[in-house]
C-alpha cells in the first residue's frame, strides 16, 4: 500500500511513539481476558439468576402486548395519548399510525419493540432519577458521575456488550443493558440540571418555614424541576428507540431484526417499512411526552390548572 511505501518504518522508528513490547502487550490482554472469563465461569450463573426475574418480566410483558387483541391496544394507546397530550389530533394520528403498522404486517415486531423500549425507559427512570437527585446535592458526586455519563454515551455500545454477552449470552438481558447504558444519561443529566436550576429563593423559603430535607425535595424542588426531568424522560425514550437495531444484533426481537435482515439482503422496501415504523413510534412517544411535559409547567405561563 502507498502509505507503507512512503516511510521505511524500520529505519525511521522514531516517527511513531514508542511501543510496549509485543509479548508484554499480548500477556496483558490475555491476563485480563482470562481473569474475566474465570470470573464469568465462577459467578456467571449467580449473576444470571439475579437478573432472571427481570428477564421473566421482559418476556411476560412482550407476550402480554402481543397477545392483547388489537382493539384493546388501540384503546390503551389512544387513551394514553389523550392523557398525555389532551389533543384529539394526536389521538387520531396515533390510531392511524398503528392501523398502518398492523395493515403492513409489522404488528408483532412493533409490539415487541414497544415492550422492550417501555421496560428500558421505566428502568432508566427508576435508576436515573435517584442518581440525578444524588448528583444535584453534591458537586463532588457530580464531578465524579459526569465523566461516567460521557463514557456511557460515547463508548461504542459493542465494546461494553462484550462482557455483557460473555455473562448473559446474547438475548434480552444483554439488549437491555445495551439500551439502558446508552439511554440513561439524559435522564440523569436533566434531573440533576433541573434540580440545580430551581430558584434558590424558593428553596430558602422552604427552609425558613422549617421544611425537612425530604419535604423540601418532594414538596418544592422536585415538582419545580419536573419540566426538565420530563425533557430527560423524553430524550431517554428517543435514545432507547435508537438502540433497537443494535439490540437486534444480539438477538432481541422487534422491528430492528427486520431492519437488519433488510440490510443484509438489500431488501429496500422491507428496510424502509420497518424503519418508518420505528420513526412513527418515536414521533408518537416524543410528541405525547413533550405535550405532557409542557402541561406540567402551565403555572409558569399563568394559565389555569388544566
Amino acid at each position: 500500500m502507498a502509505s507503507d511505501s512512503l516511510i521505511d518504518w524500520d529505519k525511521h522508528n522514531w516517527i511513531a511513539p514508542p511501543v510496549m513490547g509485543r509479548g508484554e502487550l499480548r500477556d496483558i490482554k490475555k491476563g485480563i481476558d482470562g481473569s474475566f472469563r474465570s470470573f464469568t465461569r465462577e459467578y456467571g450463573e449467580g449473576i444470571e439468576d439475579f437478573f432472571e426475574p427481570l428477564l421473566e418480566f421482559l418476556v411476560f410483558f412482550e407476550k402480554l402486548l402481543i397477545a392483547t387483541p388489537w382493539p384493546i391496544i388501540f384503546i390503551i394507546f389512544g387513551g394514553l395519548t389523550w392523557l398525555g397530550s389532551r389533543s384529539w389530533k394526536m389521538v387520531v394520528g396515533t390510531i392511524l399510525a398503528f392501523s398502518i403498522i398492523g395493515w403492513l404486517d409489522m404488528w408483532k415486531d412493533t409490539m415487541a419493540t414497544i415492550s422492550m423500549v417501555s421496560v428500558c425507559t421505566l428502568l432508566c427512570i427508576v435508576l436515573g432519577i435517584p442518581v440525578g437527585i444524588w448528583m444535584s446535592r453534591s458537586d463532588r458526586v457530580q464531578s465524579f458521575i459526569l465523566p461516567v455519563l460521557d463514557f456511557m454515551q460515547t463508548l461504542p455500545s459493542f465494546v461494553y456488550l462484550i462482557p455483557v454477552v460473555m455473562l448473559f449470552g446474547i438475548g434480552k438481558i444483554a439488549g437491555l443493558f445495551a439500551i439502558v447504558i446508552y439511554a440513561i444519561p439524559p435522564i440523569i443529566r436533566l434531573t440533576n440540571l433541573g434540580l440545580r436550576l430551581v430558584d434558590k429563593e424558593v428553596l430558602e423559603a422552604a427552609d425558613a418555614f422549617g421544611a425537612g430535607k425530604w419535604q423540601r425535595l418532594m414538596g418544592v424542588q422536585f415538582p419545580l424541576a419536573l419540566p426538565n426531568v420530563f425533557a430527560g424522560v423524553n430524550q431517554t425514550i428517543m435514545m432507547s428507540l435508537a438502540m433497537v437495531v443494535v439490540a437486534a444484533l444480539i438477538n432481541v426481537r422487534g422491528l430492528g431484526v427486520e431492519v437488519l435482515r433488510a440490510v443484509q439482503n438489500q431488501y429496500l422496501t422491507l428496510g424502509l417499512m420497518n424503519g418508518l415504523a420505528i420513526v412513527a413510534i418515536a414521533i408518537i412517544f416524543d410528541r405525547v411526552s413533550q405535550a405532557y411535559g409542557k402541561r406540567l409547567q402551565k403555572h409558569r405561563t399563568g394559565g389555569h390548572n388544566g
Binding site: F209, H299, N305
Partner: protein
Amino acid sequence: MAKKQDVKISIKNLYKIFGPKADLYMDAVKAGLSKSDLLEKHHHVLGLDNVSLDIPARGIQVIMGLSGSGKSTLIRHINRLIEPTSGEMIVDGENVLSMDAKTLRDFRRFKASMVFQKFALLPHKNVAQNVAYGLNIQGVKEDDAKKRSLKWIDRVGLSGFEKRYPSELSGGMQQRVGLARALATDADILLMDEAFSALDPLIRTDMQNILLDLQTELHKTIVFITHDLDEALHIGDNIAILRDGAIIQKGTAPEIILKPSDDYVADFIKDVNRARVLKVRAVTTKKKITNGPKIEASQTIENALQILAKSKFNSAIVTEGGEIIGSVSLEKMITTIARPKANEDAHGAYS
C-alpha cells in the same frame, strides 16, 4: 420612654466572615482587623462585625442600611439560614445557634416565619396552597389548614384569588400572599427581609399600612429590614442602622433624627421631612403654661404647627392621655424641624 419592654431576641457579639477559612481569621477580626484589610490580605468578607442588639417583644424593630451593609445577612442569622462565625442569638432565652437540626426545624415552623424581598412563593402552588404551606409543614390537618389559610387570605384582602397561581398576580398581591403565608403559621416572630422594597411606592405605602393595621391587633415581634429611611421611620418602633456589618446607631425614630451618632447617619437623615416624623413629645419642655391650645404628645409636629398657627398663641399645652405634661413653643418646633447644617446643630436641637 415608657417602662422597659421585655427582650424577645437578643443578639450578642455576632460575627460572620464569608470565606472558606473563616474561623482562621476570627480572632484577628475580634482583635481589630478591619473589613478592608481582611478582604485585601486574606480574601475573606466580613459580613457582620460584632453586632449586638436587643429586640423588644411585640414591637417593630427596623434594621436599616444600604445594600451590602449586612442587613439581609443579619436577619438570616435569627432563624439560622446562615451560620455565624461567632456569637449568640438568644430567642426567648434559648440560643438558636446551639439548637440541633430537629429543634431548629421546630423553631422555624412554630416560632419565626419569614417574608422575602422577591416573595419566594411556590410557583407550582396556588394562593390557598401557598398560604397553607407553613401549616402543611407543621403537620396541621388538611381541613384545619385550609380554614386557617382562608382566614388569612381574607385578612390581607385576597378573597376570591384562592385558586390563582402566583404568576397571575401583581407584585403587591404576591407579597400579600407572602405576608399571609408567614402570618398563617401563628409564629410570634415575623422576619421581613426588604419585604416591600420590590413594590412600587403607592403599593408599598399600602402594604406598610396593612402591616401596621395587623400589628395593632397581633402584637408580633417584627424584625423589618429595609434600605428606605422613610419606610423605617414610618413603621419602626425601634431602628438600628447598619453599615459595613456593624451597627452604628440604634434607637427610636426621634432619637435617630435628633441625635445622629455620626456624619454617616446625619447625611442619611438630612432629607427627611422632620415635621412629619417627629412627635410633639420629642420637643416638649416641662414649663407649665396656662394659655394656649391643647395638643396631644403623640401628634406630629406638622399637625401641632397647624393647630398652633390657627390659635394665635405662641405656645401650646402638651397633654398625654388627657393629663398636662408640659408645653411647647412655636419657636422650638420650628428650630427643631429645620434641616441641620452639621452634626452640632442636630445635637443642639435635642438638648
